[in-house]
Subunit: 336 residues, 2 copies
Amino acid sequence: MATIIDVAKAANVSPSTVSRVIADHPRISLKTKRKVREVMKDLAYYPNIQARNLAAKKTMMLGVVMGHSAMLAFQNPFFPEVIRGISATAHARKYGLSLSTGGTEREILDEVRAMVQSKKVDGIILLYAKDQDPIFEYLRAENFPFVVVGTPPEHRLETDYIDNNNVALAEELVDYLIALGHEDIAFVGGDIHYGVTRDRVKGFEQSYAKHGLEVDAAYYQHNTDHVEETLLKLMQLKNRPTAILTQDDLMAYEIITHLERLAIRVPDDVSIISINNHALSNYMRPALTTVEIHIFELGYKAAEFLCQRIENPTKKAQHAFVETKLIVRESCAKRC
Amino acid sequence: MATIIDVAKAANVSPSTVSRVIADHPRISLKTKRKVREVMKDLAYYPNIQARNLAAKKTMMLGVVMGHSAMLAFQNPFFPEVIRGISATAHARKYGLSLSTGGTEREILDEVRAMVQSKKVDGIILLYAKDQDPIFEYLRAENFPFVVVGTPPEHRLETDYIDNNNVALAEELVDYLIALGHEDIAFVGGDIHYGVTRDRVKGFEQSYAKHGLEVDAAYYQHNTDHVEETLLKLMQLKNRPTAILTQDDLMAYEIITHLERLAIRVPDDVSIISINNHALSNYMRPALTTVEIHIFELGYKAAEFLCQRIENPTKKAQHAFVETKLIVRESCAKRC
DNA sequence: CTGAAAGCGCTTACAG
DNA sequence: CTGAAAGCGCTTACAG
C-alpha cells in the first residue's frame, strides 16, 4: 500500500508537500498540486487516517450515544430517523460516525469515557436528556464537546442542545382537546425522569390553567410498563377521562387496542391524541391525530451544533427548537 | 493528558513494559503489572487509540453500511434491531462501530473505499444483498474482510453471510395458505433485484409445484411504489387472488387499508400473510399473521462472522440461517 | 512556494 | 521478564 513517501518520491517533492496537497493548502503552486494529485491517482494512494489523526490531534469522528434501551427497545422510528439526520451533516462536513455499543448504563458510561480519553471522537451527540445522568455530568466535567438531542434538565445555558418546544407542543394539543369540549384529559406514558415528559406535563398544565380548569393528579399515568392496568384504573375513575394524550403513536395503538377490549370506542367514547407521526399512523383505524416532530431535522441540527462546537470550543452555547406540526386525523371527536 | 512515557517514568519501567501491561502480556511479572496498573489509575491514563492502531496496524472498528435508502427510508424496525445485535457482539469483542453516512449509492461506495483504503475499519458489514452491487464487488476485489446480512446473489461459497432461509420461509407460508384452501395467491411488494425477494419467490413456486398448482404470473407484483394501483389491478383480475403474501408488516397494513377502501374485507374476502413481525402487529386490527425473523440474531451473528474473518483472513467462508417462526394471528382465513 | 526535522503516542521484533 | 530502538504514516512549526 502506497504511503506519503512513495508519492513524494514519484512526484519528486518532499512528503511535507504531499501532505499540503492533500490538505489543499493555499501556498502550494497549482502546478505542484496537479503533479502530486496525478501521482496519487496513479498509485491509488489514500492517506492513512490513523496516522493523520495522530499527527493532527483530531479524529474527524462524531460519537453517537443512545441511552440504554430507551431508543432501540422502543421500536419507533426515532433512532433511524435521527441517525439519517446526523449522517447528512456528518457526511457533508466529512465526519464519520461512531456508535456506542454498550447495553447497560454502566457499559455506556465506560464507553463514553474511553471515547473521550482515548481520543476516539472529536465530539459526542447524546440522543436523550434525563435527570442525574452520569454521562452528561462526565462530559460537562471534562468540558468535552457534546450536544444533546432533547432539553437537558440542568445547565441549559451552558450546553448545546436541540429539541422540539415540548411545552408549547403539549399546550397546543391540550388546547385542541379542550376546544373539542374535553375537560378530563389523561396523560399516559413516558418516563417522568426524562425532560421530554416533564416539559409536556408543563405544557399540559399551562393549557389547563389558561382555561381556568384544574388538573386531576390521577390523570397523570407515567408508568409505561403496565399500560393495560393503567387504563383499567383510569376507566374505573368516577370522572373517567374523555380524552387521552400519549407521547408515541405506538403506545397510542396499544392503548386503542386495550380500550377496544374494554368495549370503549375511539374516538366515540374516548379521544386519543399522540405525538411522533409514525409512518403507519395514516393507515391505522382510526387514523391517528398526532404531531410531526421532524426527527431528521433534530439529528441534522444536533450534528451541526456539534461540529460548530468542535471547531470553536469557546463559542456561546446554542439551543434551538425544531418546529412541530399537529396533524389532525380521526382519533379525536367532540365530547358528547 | 498522560502518555505511556509518563506512566513509564512514574512506574520506573520502560514504555515497552507499560505497553505490554496494557496488552496484559503473559511474560510480564505480576508485580510489575500491579505497579504499572496502579500508576495508570493514579494518572488517569488511557492509551491513545489512534497511536495504538497506527503502530499495531489495526483499528478495532467494524464498518456498518446500509444500502442507500433501503433500510432507513423504510421505517421498519430492521435497522435498530440489527444494530442492536451487531452492537452486542462488537461490544463483547471490544470493537467499535462506524456507520456509513452517504446518501446516494455513489457516496456510499466512495465512503466504503475510503474506509478500507484509509484503514478506518478492520472489516465491513453489508446490511443488504443485491444484484450487481459495486460495493460488494469492490470488497471482494480488494479481498477485504466483510460479511453480508442477506444472501449474496453471486460467489456465495466464498463469502461470509447470514440470512434467514427465505426459500423455506416463503414455502412454509404458501403451504399454510394452500392448506387453508387458497390457490390464487398474490405476492406483492419487494424489489426483485434484492436476493431476499428472489429467494421468497422461489419458495413460493416450490410450494405451488409441490401441490401441483400453477402460478399465474400476474400475481407477482414487485412494484413497491404504487401499492394502491397494484391492488386495483389485482382485484380486477378475472381470477382475483384470495390471499396476498407480502414481505413487511408495514406494507401489509398499507394493503389492508387500501383493501378496506375497496370494501374488501380482511380476512373474510382476502387473507393477508406477511413477514417481519413488527412490534405493532399484535395490536392491529386484524392482528397480522406474520413471520418472526429474529433480526437481532442476524446482526449478532453477522458481527460474529466478521470478527472471526478479521482474526483469520484465510479461514473458510461461513454461512448460516437464522431460524424463523410463523406467528398465526387473525389475518388469514379459510377460503370460502 | 517548498523542504528537513521533529514529533504525534503507541507496538514489536530483537536482544539479553 | 524487561529494555533500547526502530517504526507505524502522517502533520506542522521553522527556516529559507
